[in-house]
């Protein structure tokens, strides 16, 4: 069944939208109600997703239909986490946590180095951009490649704390690297502004298009 906006749904959505926006004026009971409703629904949504998309099929198919009763062991491991609510037995909750953290450790060490190595290798390739047609050097691209390399090394040197900054050899690259990082953070700020404005555009598009049915939206 395709989702379509009925008038009731649009009105409910619009009221919820204004309830949240009312916070801009001042903290008020309507906003607090909306906020609590949001937390309650979002958590409920998470519980249902977990049940519907994984727990139910695992029990129905894997365990009951295919007879993989061994899966009861990980179920018990997972359930041990709830012992944290019983002070005398709370130590049992350490086992699932240990298992998960250990798993995360293994995953990090097994998979991350390949990605990091590619980042490093990419940083130190040839700086000369050669034209595919005539074989000559493309000046702008080569200059950009060299600039990138300088930017990267100086930015890295900013995070290098082993030697004191008074050292002239390390002092100026770190100082320049700080500038590079500032330009990067400026770009990040610009992008953040863009993202935040998009969020409100989305809200207005809902109000104009689906609630008020403004033509052309």
């Amino acid at each position: 069944m395709t989702w379509t906006w009925t008038p009731t749904a649009a009105w409910v959505g619009a009221i919820a939208t204004f309830a949240c926006l009312s916070y801009l004026w001042a903290e008020n009971p309507v906003f607090r109600a909306a906020e609590h409703l949001f937390v309650g629904l979002a958590t409920g949504f998470g519980v249902v997703g977990n049940w519907d998309q994984y727990i139910k099929p695992t029990i129905q198919t894997d365990i009951l239909k295919d007879g993989k009763f061994i899966y009861i062991v990980p179920i018990v491991i997972g359930l041990l986490i709830y012992f944290q609510y019983f002070p005398k037995m709370s130590w049992l909750a350490r086992y699932p946590m240990s298992f998960w953290v250990g798993y995360g450790v293994g995953y990090t060490l097994a998979f991350q180095p390949a990605v990091l190595m590619k980042q490093i290798v990419d940083s130190y390739g040839s700086k000369f951009a050669v034209s595919a047609k005539g074989g000559g050097i493309i000046f702008t691209q080569t200059l950009n490649n060299i600039l990138f390399w300088v930017f990267l090394l100086t930015a890295l040197s900013y995070f290098f704390f082993t030697v004191k900054r008074e050292n002239k050899l390390l002092g100026w690259p770190a100082w320049f690297g700080r500038w590079v990082i500032m330009v990067g953070l400026g770009a990040a700020f610009g992008n953040t502004v863009m993202a935040r404005i998009s969020l409100f555009i989305g809200r207005l598009q809902f109000l104009f298009r689906d609630w008020l049915h403004v033509p052309g939206m």
């Binding site: 997703g49 139910k56 894997d62 998979f111 990605v115 992008n191 863009m194 993202a195 998009s198 207005l204």
Partner: protein
Amino acid sequence: MWDRLMSLDKRVIYLLVAIAIAVPLVKPLGLPLSTSTESETGFNAVDALKPGDVLWIGADYGPSSAPELDPMAIAIFRQALKKGVKVVIYAMWQDGVQMSKNWTEKVSKEVGAKEGVDWVNLGWKPNNPVTLRQMTDDLWGAAAGVDVNGTPLSQLPLMERVKKLDSSSVAFIFDLSTGSPGTADYLQYVSEPKKVPMSVGVTAVSAPGAMPYVKSGQYKGILSGMRGAAEYELLTRAPGSAIKGMDAQSLGHALIILLIIVGNVGYVLRKKA
């Protein structure tokens, strides 16, 4: 005057923001829009897929990123289905399930594609990226054997060909992501080890952090925020909500720059006084 301006009630600024964004939505300015190399690279990668190839779309976002990522998803999904490319959708974010349900239903109805044959929505599974990695060796097991509707994967003809998330089954990955789990996990656990090329669509906030992977060629292009979505809509010649939002984005940016300038001029003049 500057004193009054500097102690302006914040609600006046809120009102200015609301007006700057609302007016162009109702009365568009028709400002020009061009495409970037990064968006074109992502578009060309999907465009190069042959009919019957499998495109994997990651729907790793929730309602708060929908204005930026929904238009990308719609444009990519439509482009793929129209080309006869098969699509598998998977969400590492629970909200991604309902988000993707909305656009898959809308677009497949419009294109006339059939669920289970032309596309499959695997829904959400817990414990990502572990589950995502397991999919690279045993997709059916990792997905608990069912799709988003609880239909057994054995009853979906498309899934007969897709038993692993690797280069033997999936030709390309397009991950649309807000954060973690998301693009970095696809890169680390699928694209790198299983050699499946990938591209990403991210919120504008995440774009700067994703750029190093674009430069190293690990991401084949990037769609960044609503602008990236608008560019993709332009490339697929199917204008949608992102293109419509670009004028509002423009005035919003202009207002913020103006606020920074006024704030600084006021600060300097007050200091002098």
